[in-house]
């Protein structure tokens, strides 16, 4: 068989842990090979070895059957190995074209030959259907286009082996479909792709073969056709995973949270960012706001939680007018908020985990006395939550939050917000960037909230999450609610039509 790259019996140790234990990964020419594993399974370590960032303790890397030594990323690039990182490495102030040629410029007498470069980039762009605007500044283009720029960077350098590190984590459903097409196109044109992911759906859609890693060990390599989603997830997690959350049949109770005619104006535009939004969330109910990213979801959440002022409308909680209430009042009177961006809003990364767990309650008598923090009670409280929510970290409550993994950081927020015993829980993309196990945990907790008589408002981009969890789906499009759907009676396709603005109903509270 013709393998383009082979990593044979790779072993890599870090003090106290074997990150890669006798792992063998063989990539055939022109295939899309998925690398599946939970956070911490050793995917990144393995790819870092292939990219020359780490040196393995044991094992051999072969390129087209010949043994090679990859000492640094530059060598990897020369050998035709390119990588699209999960967090793009682009210069914001440069144009698309400048970013693509950066580090591989063609120069004549010290001057850049931009025209030639542009011609080559546009050729590539057309050939692989990677549509870009070469003269746009990177800071002004969409995330999807930024990713296409990253892909073009690899193609411009004539890389043959392309590594995609969790490429779909930052994309909308439509962009994900586009990317899948691009990946298929690339393999058709003779490139070999390694696709790092923990999303099973995408593997089924696009990959030819899949290698599963778990806790540093290689579980096996399979043809995607021969395995089911269920068996893949079992191999990845090491136990059976529930994809659908069990939800009891409960009739929703009285209205807890009500929004009336909420509007937010856009500066310098006659079109409102949010326009006359009205809805209710009742006791024992999960209401989901679905929509393509950037249709006003973030602004709506800012308005509901008091982070941003809005121009018209009313917010009622238990019939009490909260329109003008401060953030602190909302925080401490029954509103919980799991923010979209956990690094920007949810956590102070420099603070310890204990200090983050009291972020909205540090001023209560439980944690302070005459202005002095009661460190004993703070730590006691933190230790309790750590146990209850199984938050893992290096040094317990003292751990600096920055050093924790994404899943555990999210658990810190979740623990804090649920422990407040809210009447209304606003969760924005709570499972963003998390693996299957962590996602399952968070979904279970949200359903528990519903069952214990809370009102839950979920804002999500993931259609599967929406269909699974919600009792009612509201679709937002260009700042307006355009659909009020029952997940039992609707389909993902129909939901997609509403999200794209192709279909709309009158929505009343």
């Amino acid at each position: 068989m013709d393998y383009i790259i082979e990593m044979l019996n790779i072993r890599k140790e870090f003090p106290g842990i074997v990150a890669n234990d006798d792992i063998t990964l063989r990539i055939k020419k022109t295939e899309i090979h998925a690398l599946l594993g939970e956070n911490g399974a050793g995917k990144s370590t393995l790819m870092s070895i292939l990219f020359g960032l780490y040196k393995p303790e044991a094992g051999v890397i072969k390129l087209r059957g010949k043994e090679i030594n990859i000492s640094d990323p530059k060598t990897a690039s020369h050998l035709g190995i390119g990588m699209v990182h999960q967090h793009f490495k682009l210069v914001e102030d440069f144009t698309v074209l400048e970013n693509i040629i950066l580090g591989a410029e063609t120069v004549k007498n010290g001057f850049l030959k931009m025209d030639e470069a542009k011609k080559k980039v546009m050729e590539l762009s057309n050939r692989y259907k990677l549509y870009i605007d070469p003269d746009a500044k990177v800071s002004n283009i969409t995330v999807g286009m930024q990713q296409r720029v990253e892909i073009l960077k690899m193609l411009y350098r004539e890389n043959e082996i392309l590594i995609f590190d969790e490429p779909t984590a930052v994309l909308t459903p439509q962009e994900i479909d586009e990317l899948m097409d691009i990946m298929k196109e690339l393999s058709k044109e003779g490139k070999s792709l390694i696709f790092i992911t923990h999303k099973l759906e995408e593997i089924k859609k696009v990959a030819d073969r899949v290698t599963v890693l778990r806790r540093g060990k290689c579980i096996g390599t399979y043809n995607v056709e021969d395995v089911t989603k269920e068996s893949l997830s079992e191999m990845m997690v090491g136990r059976k995973v529930q994809f659908t959350v069990d939800k009891k049949d409960i009739t929703p109770g009285e209205t807890i949270f009500e929004v009336k005619n909420l509007s937010m104006k856009t500066k310098g535009s006659t079109k409102n960012t949010l326009n006359k939004i009205s809805f209710k969330v009742r006791k024992n109910e999960i209401v989901c706001i679905a929509g393509i990213d950037g249709n006003g979801q973030s602004e709506l959440v800012y308005a509901l939680t008091g982070i941003r002022h809005f121009d018209e409308g009313q917010i009622l909680v238990h019939g009490e007018d909260w329109t003008k209430k401060s953030i602190r009042y909302r925080n401490s009177h029954g509103m919980s908020h799991i923010p979209e961006d956990r690094h920007k809003y949810g956590l102070i990364l420099e603070y310890s985990m204990a200090y983050n767990l009291i972020l909205q309650t540090y001023f209560t008598d439980r944690f302070q006395k005459r202005g002095f923090l009661k460190n004993d009670s703070i730590h006691e409280y933190a230790d309790g939550l750590i146990k209850k929510y199984d938050i893992r970290s290096g040094q317990g409550a003292q751990t600096v939050t920055r050093s924790m993994s994404g899943g555990n950081q999210q658990k810190v927020i979740l623990a804090r917000e649920i422990d407040k015993d809210p009447s209304i829980m606003i969760a924005v993309q709570p499972a963003r960037g998390l693996d299957v196990g962590a996602t399952e945990f968070i979904h279970k907790k949200l359903v528990e909230q519903r069952e214990s008589g809370k009102a839950v408002l979920l804002i999500s981009l993931e259609l599967e999450e929406i269909m699974n969890l919600s009792d009612r789906i509201l679709v937002i499009y260009e700042g307006e609610l355009v659909g009020d759907l029952d997940p039992k009676k609707t389909t993902i396709q129909e939901l997609g039509l509403y999200m794209a603005g192709a279909k709309r109903d009158e929505v009343k509270a």
């Binding site: 990144s44 999960q86 102070i348 603070y351 972020l359 993994s405």
Partner: protein, 389 residues
Amino acid sequence: MSNRNSMNQFFDRLSRKKGTGSFISSLVAIGIGLIIGLIILLISNPREAFAGFFTMLIGGFNDGTRSFGNVFYIATPIIMTGLAVGFAFKTGLFNIGASGQFIVGAYVAVLIGVKLPQLGGFQWVLGILAAMAIGTIWEAVPGLLKAYLNVHEVIASIMMNYIGMFMVNYLIKQTVLNVYTNRSLAVAPTANIPKMGLTAIFPGSSINGGFLIAILFVILMYIILEKTTFGYELKACGHNRFAAKYAGINENRSIILSMAISGMLAGVGGALHYLSGAGVYIEVVDVLAAQGFTGISVSLLGMSNPIGVFFAGIFIAWLQIGGFYMQRYSFVPEFIQIITAIIIYCSAASLLIRNYLELRQLKKDENLTADSDGDTADIVNVENQGGDK
């Protein structure tokens, strides 16, 4: 072999401890600064370079208890300005206006010291309290501008520096001018801060109770920042103002209070310096007070931590005293400023060293908890930290 292992473990534990990273990086910065200083000495006067360098290093030991006490005397005002700058840094603000707050504080202290001898033993206390008040007002103005009009605090503070300097020059001429020397009049003996027994320990030096007052403020600031809910709020704003807002912390209030307290500290520094009874007077010259800018150096070197600032202040004062005695070898005392400047450059670079140490630790920790996959963003964040500040 086992010996080396236990050494490694020791360093591992050391570098894992909170704050050790910054402490080590400050030491590295000082070391590099001194080496470059020695090279400059060698270039300018090779014959006496080593003797001069040695004199500088032994700083406070040059003249027994006298020079030792003077180290603390010199350190007192720059510890105060260092605390001022550091306190603002903790809230994510840059108080570059310590010079202005220092000089207006000095002026009101001297004014009370000259004009109100009838107060007796309370004169110096009132002088310090007045300096606190005016310093507070002086930096609260940029704080208010920042909070409500989003005027950058650096611009506003620089303006306040010049307003302070020219206003004090004018007011001295109007109120307390010694026309023969073109500087402020001597304050009444009761306006000088009592020696509080310190001259008994360091005979012949200019040390006085001001040093103890500075220590008091160091402890006070440490407690505020580390132990109180107020400090929790201020630091939260400094680290991540979005998350602070999310937590319901009033950001504007934090900005204004942090700036006001910062100004107060620098103002006290002015009073402590000019009520020291060491024969210093406010000169009527168009030059910003040097202590304000030295405060920035002290704060950087002390990593904005009150305890760190205390030792950084003493260290810089130590070098300054050393520089004074270097004149024996025909080196100008300004030479110390060059070395201090190099050390500050290095401590800026030491942020990089610290980040490197943190990064290394982070990687280790991540691998230990086997959670290395998910958030490479964190590592990138650590790398960027230097640039953020």
